[in-house]
Amino acid sequence: MRFDKLSIAAWILSLATDPARATTTVGDFAEDSSNHERTWFWRQIAHTLGAHILHDFTQAPIRLLLGATAALISSIAAYYAAVISYTQFLMVYLTVVPSTSDGPAPGEIPLAITYIVTVHVAFGVGMARLSRHPLPLWVAWSILCTLLWLAYSVTGGRLATYPIQSSLLILLGVVWQRRLSLKAA
């Protein structure tokens, strides 16, 4: 896949609509852009992306809310699955000495971060594969996380702060999956 202007635009649009529809829409803008000024093409991409996200919010708000709730619960489960599998199995397998009161063992933090980042990116890929339009779902999920974080910030609940921290990693997985599906289209 070449990283030219049209491929990048199709990739961006495919986050909020079907990949086949995204490529034909970008083709329409490319055909029409010769009659307009230079920024016209990207303004139309931004406008169309916003319209697709808004469309999903207004057309099926309950479905989007349920999807975002399911994604939130799954992401928390994925986080704890990552932590448990790391501390119970991976650390033992790689013979990493667990952290002590003096601080973490050498190599422990980078390994833990790499492992948990991988789990979150994989979660984002899974979310994008299951959802027809992953970006509106991600936006709804992020709003839900923010509300949860605001509600729990007084008590300092860990459950609430975790999803907000991981949302960008999950978005990275979503973007990566769409790149692959666009390549296949």
Partner: protein
Amino acid sequence: MSTQVTLGEFEQLVLLAILRLGDNAYGVTIRHEITKRTNREATPGALYTTLDRLEDKGMLRSTMGDPTPERGGRAKRYFEVTGAGMKAITQSQKNYQQMRKGLRLPGLSNA
């Protein structure tokens, strides 16, 4: 009262533009047709979400054309109105006509 599929104003404009364009109805021509006939700029964001919605409702059918160089090798997506779409637009236009009957609107003939 029978259950009817209701169409918004912009949905009707899109369906009528596709009917007018016949075999050459795709994003660019639909947008230009609406702008030319209504003197109103159809924003792409509104147009593409409307096309997707009408296709998802079964009122439009789309087929892929051949890729062309001026489109960066991207195919055109041609649209045609289905039977359900034709029924819905006919009903919507009938409703307008019924509402207009007997009214004198400035600049319009009393059809």
